[in-house]
């Protein structure tokens, strides 16, 4: 225990800056993924036949081992921020897209008919009726996705990505040494804290943006 405190004493600055860059890449990845998923979702909405293949791609893609994916990035994008971001986006898009499509498909036909029947255009109906109604499911997708990305981002250290992965891998590489356990432990705790904070953030977003009529 005293070893751990000693480690914190010397290492807290690294830990903090790594935490910050961890949060940063997660946030960037989430933003990019949201845009990508929204575009793909819109495509699947306009072309109904695309929904099925997209959904099956999304579920198989999630089974890819992240380490393998990171490895594949090195020959193409080299090391650092960009390959990490790309892998994170590939992972994060899946649950978002999945919930987007499921959410939009789950709306009662009677409501859609009412919307069209009173004279909404297709686009108007999408943004005024369908997205708000699917929103709780979409936010759930975002929340799930962000949890996953916080974890996967740590593996990004494998390709020299930013974040707490560096400390984590350091510790794992020197198992047996005095600093190994504190490093792994502190990095893990920070990752957990980030995850909890993000989860709380999405809870808040959902409270604030989901209509009370469908909560």
């Amino acid at each position: 225990m005293s070893g751990f405190l000693q480690y914190l004493h010397y290492g807290y600055q690294t830990l903090l800056s790594e935490s910050l860059s961890h949060v940063l890449i997660v946030v960037v990845a989430m933003l990019v993924s949201f845009v990508v998923a929204a575009m793909l979702g819109l495509l699947a909405y306009r072309r109904a036949w695309l929904a099925e293949p997209l959904l099956s791609i999304t579920s198989t893609a999630l089974t890819l081992p992240s380490l393998a994916l990171f490895g594949l990035m090195i020959p193409i994008f080299g090391l650092g921020f960009v390959p990490t971001l790309i892998v994170l986006v590939i992972y994060a898009v899946m649950p978002i897209l999945r919930n987007l499509i499921t959410g939009l498909n789950s709306i009662s036909p009677a409501i859609l008919e009412a919307a069209t029947g009173i004279g909404m255009t297709r686009t108007r109906r999408l943004f005024v009726v369908e997205v708000p109604l699917a929103w709780p499911i979409i936010v759930t997708g975002l929340r799930f996705s962000s949890m996953m990305v916080v974890g996967v981002a740590a593996v990004g250290a494998y390709v020299g990505g930013p974040g707490l992965g560096a400390t984590l891998f350091n510790g794992l590489a020197e198992v047996g040494s005095r600093s190994a356990v504190p490093e792994v432990l502190s990095a893990t705790i920070m990752i957990l804290l980030i995850a909890i904070a993000l989860d709380g953030l999405f809870w808040l977003i959902s409270r604030l943006t989901v209509s009370p009529g469908i909560r």
């Binding site: 009677a110 409501i111 009173i118 004279g119 255009t121 469908i214």
Partner: protein, 401 residues
Amino acid sequence: MALDLSPQEASNIGTELQPRRSVIELRDVSKHYKDAGAPIVDRLTLSISEGEFVALTGPSGCGKTTTLKMINRLIEPSSGQIIINGQDVGDLPSHRLRQGIGYVIQNVGLFPHMTIADNVAAVPRLLGWKKDRMTPRIDELLSMVGLEPSIYRDRYPRELSGGQAQRVGVARALAADPPILLMDEPFAAVDPITRTSLQDEFLRLQQSIRKTIVFVTHDMAEAMRLADRVVIFGPQSKIAQVGAPTEVLSAPADAFVASMLGSGRLMQLLSCVRLRDVSLDRWPTLAQGLEGDERLAALSSAKIEGKNRVLVLDEAKRPLYWIYSDATGESSKVEVDCKLELDATSLRDAITQIVYCSHDCAVVVDGDGAFQGIINIQGIRRSLAPLAGAGTSAANIGVDK
């Protein structure tokens, strides 16, 4: 006293007698789906006038909803033409067309994520209304359908009962004051008592807003109660009969229509015919304040007609009381205990009233309370005689087999 049953007259019951402009016209409209063999709607031609309330009715799956949705192009007809106000519905972008037509669907279809006010404001918002015009309109509409705005404005649909949701559905359809209203079984999802009161309220509302209404229902009694004209679809999606409720009820076109109407047919007929539709009997009257000789003269001339009493009216011709003459020439006053209103009373209500009133006949007055005539059971029987055709006798009244 006979009921006038010429078709034009009958179809004008409940509306003005002047000829009216045709607002919706279906010309040879058909709908068939590729995979299905027989057409769902087969060469339907129908013209609906301004302010007319038309009910489409018939067995399940006969194409009522399909017909309705072709009018606002939720379903495209396979062939034929649909004209609204002289313009082919295909000429407008479909969402523009629909913004001008109120639409109420069976399962209400309120937007669950919007407040009641936002639901009602949906169409005005599409039309780009300003907020200062929208807010009072929402309150006006909610009051119109019997919902107190301050209570319901900010609620969400899930916080409403089925009947309240139906009302909001109607309010939403009326929001931008469209001249045409399409309604698909709007009152089907509520219990019979609520349904009846919704129907009553809606009839009253229609009296003041005078929309052109196409109303789908599989409930014959509802169609007969509400509509000026009823379209009964038969098997193979053909029109079996079109006509005013009294017309259809008194002379079903064929065995199919008769079977659709069922054994309650005469009772429904009695509900549809108002006192203003039958000719009333006259009765000797006496102006209030006339005494002595004039009174005696009136009583004795009544006696010549075989009547033992006269009705005393005030200066606005409102009935006050009966004066009887007995054998000795003395006269006595008796209260008028059974007064029926010409426009509001159906024959069915009249019968019930007469059965309980003490003179075997009811005094009929107009909206201002002025005396119009009297009606009794014999009179009702006489007016029913021409209606009781098609193998059903007037003796069957009230007998539900």
